[in-house]
């Protein structure tokens, strides 16, 4: 009988502690599988955020370092300085990266830090229990926007990929989705592209994963996937926002 699922070399053989239907597992696997395919698992150092993925090292079978809320890009900047020939990445959620850690991510991108940030955008704080994130959509309910997020009160959601695209140091930025097999296949290509560009030493690389949080959204996993496609993608369009050739052309002008 052909197995439908096997642990990859980059995944620790353990039970997941993520909620049923959560897309963290998919993102973890895409990252570690790509590193494995590139022969880089033993040369990689990952930085985990604060949030549900704080224990990413329980699942990703590589050297890892926890970091304080939002500070992962600063931590990765330090690691990269000590090991300029290793592969370094941060893995951060939207509360961590787009709220408390805005200074760190913006300046790491501006410096053109040669690591990759994987940004999990699921429009909500997961671990703390479903509060409004900077990425929470207008009208979206959360435990701190119980009648739905209002623009007058909380402003509009931050489009991080677009924001970082304004910085010269960010050479590769792509927003992908984890909501369907086709999306996931494309997401893996983006992960690989980011690591390849990091290896070339061209600058800061960034992949935003549109993700789900069925638990805090109060939706069944299939409905959560549908909600992502119907609501998130229109506001957060998929696609490549920065790529090295275009950045080089800009620099030449």
């Amino acid at each position: 009988m052909k197995p439908v699922f096997t642990y990859t070399k980059g995944m620790v053989r353990t039970d997941t502690s993520y909620c049923p239907g959560c897309t963290h597992g998919i993102a973890h696997r895409l990252i570690t599988e790509t590193l494995d395919e590139m022969g880089l698992l033993g040369d990689a150092v990952g930085v985990a955020p604060i949030g549900c993925a704080v224990q990413a090292h329980k699942f990703m079978n590589l050297d890892m370092c926890e970091s304080a809320h939002g500070r992962a890009p600063a931590v990765a900047s330090g690691i990269r300085r000590v090991h300029p020939d290793k592969v370094v990445f941060t893995y951060q959620g939207d509360g961590d990266l787009a709220s408390i850690g805005t200074a760190e991510i913006v300046h790491a991108a501006a410096r053109g830090e040669k690591f990759t940030t994987f940004f999990i955008n699921n429009c909500i704080y997961g671990m703390t229990g479903g509060q409004m994130a900077p990425t929470t959509l207008l009208g979206q309910r959360s435990t701190t926007s119980q009648d739905g997020r209002k623009k007058e009160q909380a402003g509009s959601p931050i489009r991080v990929s677009e924001l970082l695209s304004a910085l010269d140091g960010a050479v590769y930025i792509e927003r992908v989705s984890l909501a369907s097999p086709a999306h996931i296949r494309n997401a893996k290509k983006a992960v690989r592209r980011a690591f390849e560009i990091q290896r070339q030493g061209l600058g800061f690389t960034f992949v935003e994963f549109l993700s789900t949080c069925p638990t805090n959204w109060g939706l069944a996993p299939p409905d959560a996937m549908k909600w992502l496609i119907d609501n998130m993608i229109p506001y957060y369009p998929l696609g490549v926002y920065r790529e090295p050739q275009a950045v080089e052309k800009e620099a030449a002008v």
């Binding site: 930085v47 890892m64 500070r71 330090g78």
Partner: protein
């Protein structure tokens, strides 16, 4: 003036400004990585590092904030790098978030506080009101950081150089507590030899716990972490840390003393204030009062046991500090109920002169039952009775 950046033999003296000396000592100690952010009165340190570190094979990175700097330091330290950071009081306050993480994850670091007056943005003149922040742990949770307070540029150099080794040995941040006077003053010093920087490829062997990429054997992967969701696991971890701190309390106490066995009064002071106290002690001697000195060099662990050496003759113990009385609490613990403990302080960036310190100490001595015969001596030494340096400006 052209500063001398060439390597110096052990005994050749060079004249260095405090801030530059601190930075030079860090580089020579083998601290290859520096992350910093400008703040008065220590901005010469990032300036010096930006100029010197890259050409000597090290790395300088200007962070976006002190939060950025301490977290870069945490990352570099977690990856096995030897790291130095510096800041001043409000910047050190921001760094406390990271200090807590470093202590829990047992990541080495040498940190320098060129402290200034507070609270809030306070001022840019020297202060010691970060004593609690530094010795009690300014961040969350149970942890300790060994703190050394030099009183001369040479001592600062020696302590920073040694701290580079201690940080690795104890797998803990080590803090150097200087003040704005020390940062700006110049003194002739001899510099220690350059310790070799550890190459990236050698880190895994020297620090198997560091996150460097596991290489060939995934079973030996490193996780640098502080999260422990299970209470029993976290308790066991904190207990383990405190076993280490208990050893540090035995091994890291540093103190200078003078005439404790037959002193009329004992002054306790650290850093620049201890030097002012030494001069005050000379003034008091001219007035017939013998003052002893306890100069804690390690603020944590505090030299409590040294207070047992105070002899029967002593009438009072005085904590002299640039704060509203923070070290005072440790002095009280050290003295216990044996003797009255009093405070002489200035704050906000004001610094007592040696004369002011001597006058206040004399007053306390007399209030504590000391004999007042020394007024005669005051006249004999040409000092005017009743002259109080409070009217005098500190230069």
């Amino acid at each position: 003036m052209s500063s001398n950046n060439k390597s110096n033999s052990q005994n050749e003296k060079v004249l260095l400004k405090g801030n530059e000396a601190f930075a030079e000592a860090a580089i020579r100690g083998g601290l290859r990585f520096y992350f910093g952010y400008p703040i008065t009165p220590q901005s010469e340190i990032p300036e010096f590092m930006s100029r010197e570190l890259p050409k000597r094979g090290g790395v300088f990175l200007q962070a976006e904030s002190e939060l950025g700097a301490i977290n870069m330091a945490y990352g570099a330290g977690a990856a096995g790098g030897a790291v130095f950071i510096s800041s001043s009081s409000p910047g050190i306050a921001l760094m406390q978030e990271g200090m807590s993480f470093l202590c829990s994850a047992e990541v080495p670091l040498v940190a320098l506080n060129v402290s200034r007056g507070g609270p809030g943005i306070g001022g840019i003149q020297p202060g010691q009101a970060d004593y609690f922040q530094t010795t009690r742990g300014g961040g969350n949770g149970d942890y300790k950081i060994p703190v050394f307070a030099p009183a001369s540029i040479q001592e600062a150099i020696d302590l920073i150089y040694e701290a580079a080794e201690l940080a690795d040995k104890w797998r803990n941040p080590i803090m150097i507590f200087a003040d704005g006077i020390m940062g700006q003053m110049m003194e002739p010093v001899s510099l220690p030899e350059q310790r070799p920087f550890i190459e990236a490829g050698d880190i895994r062997k020297a620090k198997p716990w560091a996150a460097t990429g596991y290489g060939e054997d995934a079973s030996k992967r490193s996780i640098v972490k502080s999260l422990r969701m299970q209470p029993d696991e976290l308790e066991a971890h904190v207990e383990k840390l405190f076993e280490k701190y208990a050893r540090a309390e035995k091994e890291l106490v540093r103190v200078e003393t003078r005439d404790l066995d037959d002193a009329d009064i004992v002054l306790v002071a650290f850093g620049t204030v201890a030097r002012i106290a030494r001069e005050a002690i000379d003034i008091l001697a001219e007035r017939g009062i013998k003052a002893g000195l306890i100069r804690p060099i390690s603020l944590w662990p505090f030299p409590y046991a040294t207070f047992d050496e105070i002899g029967a003759r002593t009438k009072a113990v005085i904590s002299a500090e640039l704060s509203m009385g923070q070290m005072l609490e440790d002095v009280k613990i050290g003295v216990g109920k044996r003797l009255p403990v009093r405070l002489i302080h200035r704050t906000g960036g004001m610094i007592p002169t040696s004369l002011e310190l001597a006058d206040s100490a004399e007053k306390i001595y007399i209030e504590s039952g000391g004999t007042g015969f020394n007024n005669i001596l005051i006249n004999n030494t040409g000092l005017q009775p009743g002259r109080r340096s409070g009217d005098k400006e500190v230069l």
